[in-house]
């Protein structure tokens, strides 16, 4: 098997705006007929360089023109989770629009060319009081939330997080002697919880059992009480 060691980059991988996801002809230069294009070229990046890191302010979504940008974040446990390998034509960073701040890493894998859509949070809020701006901000929040849903490692922690989330949104606080608790009636079955979290029905049952044994919750069918120790 004699493959060539290195292949010439395909033409579409080089600067080419016909595949721009926003239909902005910004590369290699904008068409004056389009008026002021709200796009700026980013300097070329070398392998390993970061386009942004957690905490960096959001300055606009970025369009990858060539190369590969790895989007990843670190879990509280310290492991790294890769969310996306962004290739030519991909738009990245939208999930940070609503918060105005990045919470992940964007690192060039090899040489990368890209351009950035100019974005000023204040100007954007002023320009888009309408429905589209609200929908866009909401979509950004949903993208950020979707990224949080990763392959869960531990069923018990996963189920506990799920119960916390449901309890926070549907439950109500209640006094039980001297202790407080969040009580909630789950609207879904164990089977559907498993289908949501990616576990078998029995695994969800056993996880709930364990959480009871640990004194974090009390469960009686769909009636769930989160004790104070489980409030994070």
């Amino acid at each position: 098997m004699d493959m060539p060691r290195r292949l010439p980059a395909p033409a579409r991988d080089s600067a080419d705006c016909r595949r721009c996801p926003l239909e902005l002809r910004c590369w290699p230069e904008a068409d004056p007929a389009d008026g002021p294009v709200p796009v700026v070229r980013e300097p070329a990046m070398r392998s390993g360089q970061f386009l942004w890191r957690p905490g960096d302010p959001f300055t606009g979504p970025v369009i990858v023109h060539s190369g590969c940008v790895m989007i990843f974040r670190t879990t509280p446990a310290g492991t790294e989770r890769v969310l996306q390998f962004a290739l030519a034509g991909d738009l990245i960073g939208l999930e940070a629009l609503s918060r105005g701040r990045h919470d992940q890493y964007a690192q060039a894998q090899g040489e990368v060319l890209c351009c950035r859509v100019r974005w000023s949070p204040a100007a954007a809020a002023a320009e888009t009081p309408g429905l589209y701006g609200r929908l866009l901000r909401r979509a950004s929040q949903m993208l950020a939330a979707a990224q949080q849903r990763a392959r869960p490692e531990d069923p018990i922690a996963s189920v506990l997080n799920f119960l916390r989330d449901i309890s926070r949104r549907l439950g109500h606080e209640e006094a039980d002697g001297g202790r407080r608790r969040h009580q909630v009636r789950l609207p879904m079955s164990r089977l559907d919880i498993g289908r949501y979290l990616g576990f078998a029905e029995e695994t969800v049952c056993r996880a709930i059992r364990r959480l009871q044994d640990q004194g974090l919750i009390e469960a009686r069918g769909r009636q769930i009480s989160l004790l104070e120790a489980a409030w994070r």
Copy 2:
């Protein structure tokens, strides 16, 4: 333990627009000062009813006002995967905006009240030739893509899908005797593929090994060839 059999619904769970994600005061009635609110009330739904099914046309995102809507889809293998339990205040259906058609189920769990943002694809395209409309459509595509990324069951199928995706975007076709193949040079390591797919590095290696044994691919380090049998 004597919990009441059924609890009165919390006030915030009933029709209340102060928590509307789009800041539309549409419930129980719109404020005339806001002008025409582009929102319509949906009839109350009973448990088990579907708000939409795969193939239904997109008629606008929906805001859940009370109850729980389960969003799920069926995998090619026939199993059901739950994507979201939408509760009061959640906006659902945005991922179908760009395609104009739903590809999932939205089913009421218990009684559900919700309202829908009026949306006409043609009118929307005409009204939003600008950047915001493009960004919104792109965000919708990204949401749809994010939903595809579920907990993978089988490492081999998962790695094959990954290689197909990368090959389709970065690779190029090549003749090898009488056979055709897609050749690609991966920009990332096995470890990062594992971090992306949710597997250990060694599991990715073994999956690639199996795919070679099955005659679907040829791999030599990061140089990958997808043979015709692997083209789906």
